[in-house]
């Protein structure tokens, strides 16, 4: 009866639009570069370069070893392992010791990704999982104040979120948002340069490699929750802009929360997913024991992702 054709499929050969796993990973790496190069390597120098190189190379090595052990086609070339190594390095302090980096990439690649069957199968963001495990095990190495003690730049080198936790709002008056945007703050190698991360995120969103819904909802979740806290007691809780531009918030919003296989695909689930992540981040920062809750919040939303995927549009023509 209904013979009208909805979708016309022609014969081969097809034109490839040039988008594939390799391209995606490559472009995400490009997007991360401004924050990494200008914010991290430029600021932290040789040690940071060492951490990044070690992280990327060992991540690829673990991937290769796991491919061999599991007798699967070698997938190092798709760039995903390199991306994971790069993002992990961006979250680490510049002076992270070699064994911390190698354990980190092992956890990320082997436990975070390959155990679940490689790319696309991971239930959690491998980078967030790895950083969370490292943070639980070696708390001291994620204390940016202690780790970056030898750097003496022309701006305040105390880690903003640690200052907030220890000294309250009166302690953070010395910081300014423009410093955060220009990367004049302490933190992970690639997590300090606000403008760079924003540019990278905007590029990825415009090219369609990540979904704007997740990033924007995440930032909105951070903003609204922090604002509510701030309104109830401005003397105890920092203002929302402070939370958005410090710690892992921006890198979390654009690079971690948006990871393909651990985030939802439909519009409403993406909004809930992002907003819940922002909410959890601020709850952990303001009430919880940890200084920065971003990676933990992202693990929590990864966990609710399968549930969120149940919210989906009704199939066409289906009668309930």
């Amino acid at each position: 009866m209904n013979s009208q054709k909805k979708l016309i499929v022609s014969h081969a050969p097809f034109l490839h639009i040039g988008s594939g796993i390799t391209e995606r990973n490559l472009h995400i790496i490009y997007a991360a570069l401004p924050a990494l190069l200008l914010g991290g390597l430029f600021r932290f120098g040789i040690p940071a370069i060492g951490v990044v190189c070690l992280s990327v190379s060992t991540a690829m090595l673990w991937e290769l070893l796991m491919n061999r052990a599991m007798k699967r086609p070698v997938s190092v070339g798709d760039g995903n392992a390199a991306l994971i190594g790069l993002l992990l390095a961006m979250l680490l302090p510049a002076t992270a010791p070699w064994w911390l980096v190698i354990t980190g990439t092992f956890v990320a690649i082997v436990i975070g990704k390959q155990i679940f069957g490689g790319i696309g199968g991971n239930a959690f963001n491998p980078v967030a999982l790895s950083v969370a495990i490292l943070m639980v095990s070696w708390k001291d190495y994620f204390d940016f104040n202690g780790m970056l003690m030898n750097y003496d730049p022309d701006f305040i080198m105390a880690y903003p979120l640690a200052t907030l936790k220890n000294f309250g709002v009166s302690g953070i008056e010395q910081y300014s948002i423009s410093d955060f945007l220009l990367g004049r703050q302490s933190g992970g190698i690639g997590a300090t340069f606000g403008i760079g991360l924003l540019l990278g995120g905007a590029y990825l969103i415009m090219r369609g490699f990540i979904r704007w819904e997740i990033s924007i909802a995440y930032l909105a979740g951070v903003f609204v929750t922090a604002l509510l806290f701030n309104l109830t007691d401005p003397t105890r809780y920092a203002d929302p802009f402070f939370h958005i531009f410090t710690g892992y918030t921006l890198i979390g919003a654009f690079f971690l929360a948006t990871e393909d296989s651990s985030s939802p695909v439909n519009f409403i689930p993406m909004l809930i997913y992002g907003a819940a992540g922002g909410l959890m981040t601020i709850l952990i920062r303001n009430i919880g024991a940890y200084i920065d809750g971003t990676v933990l919040a992202i693990l929590v939303i990864n966990l609710i992702n399968p549930l969120l995927d149940k919210i989906r549009p009704k199939a066409m023509g289906k009668v309930v």
Binding site: A69, W99, T103, I111, I115, V136, S137, W138
Partner: protein, 201 residues
């Protein structure tokens, strides 16, 4: 089909090693394997209960009515668990403190009830003894292996009996995640994976 008594014994060491093959009795496997010592202690306590209950169940298998067999098994198992608990309190008190609630919990360990139900109730005394001993020793080995991995990486030591032996020296930064509960799950998963990898060849 009939296995020799030696086979009944050795199957518990590899073919049907409880936590890795049957994936049974995971509660103590995950909870008490922070050190090798805890693992061995827990394993031996379980082995004792397993052997005694297997012998008693198989010797009484003609007497026990089918309808109340589970109740009978539980009485027998609970008796031996309480015996173990009292004896451990009297002779190895520090170990008892470390294992704590998990000693009484042997009662609900699926391995013990499982062997009574699936094996001892249908087989002779000698066979059941071999089975209980094999499964028990397999369980102990598995616990000790898991404990060794977790303690080695999580603490840098190996504790065979009371005094920890430093393996990596003082420069080692312990990977504390391994001795936490989630570390136990991940470690068990990796070991299961390794077992399958080895035996699939």
């Amino acid at each position: 089909m009939a296995k020799s008594i030696a086979q009944e014994f050795t199957k518990g060491l590899w073919e049907e090693i409880p936590p890795f093959r049957l994936v049974l009795g995971l509660c103590p496997v995950l909870a008490v394997t922070k050190t090798v010592e805890n693992g061995i202690g827990m394993g031996l306590a379980t082995t004792f209960v397993l052997v005694c209950s297997n012998i008693l169940v198989s010797s009484l298998r003609k007497v026990i009515p089918g309808k109340v067999r589970i109740a009978c098994f539980i009485i027998i198992i609970a008796t031996f668990v309480t015996v173990v608990e009292l004896v451990m309190q009297a002779f190895t008190y520090p170990l008892f403190l470390k294992l704590g609630i998990f000693i009484p919990l042997i009662v609900v360990n699926c391995v013990v009830l499982g062997r009574s139900e699936a094996f001892a109730f249908k087989n002779g005394v000698v066979r059941s003894l071999a089975d209980g001993l094999g499964i028990g020793i397999g369980f102990t080995l598995a616990l000790a292996a898991l404990g060794a991995v977790r303690e080695l990486f999580g603490n840098g030591t190996l504790t065979i009996w009371e005094t920890p032996i430093q393996i990596f020296g003082p420069a080692f930064q312990p990977f504390t995640f391994m001795v936490e509960a989630p570390g136990a799950f991940i470690c068990l998963g990796l070991m299961l994976c390794l077992m399958n990898l080895v035996s699939s060849k």
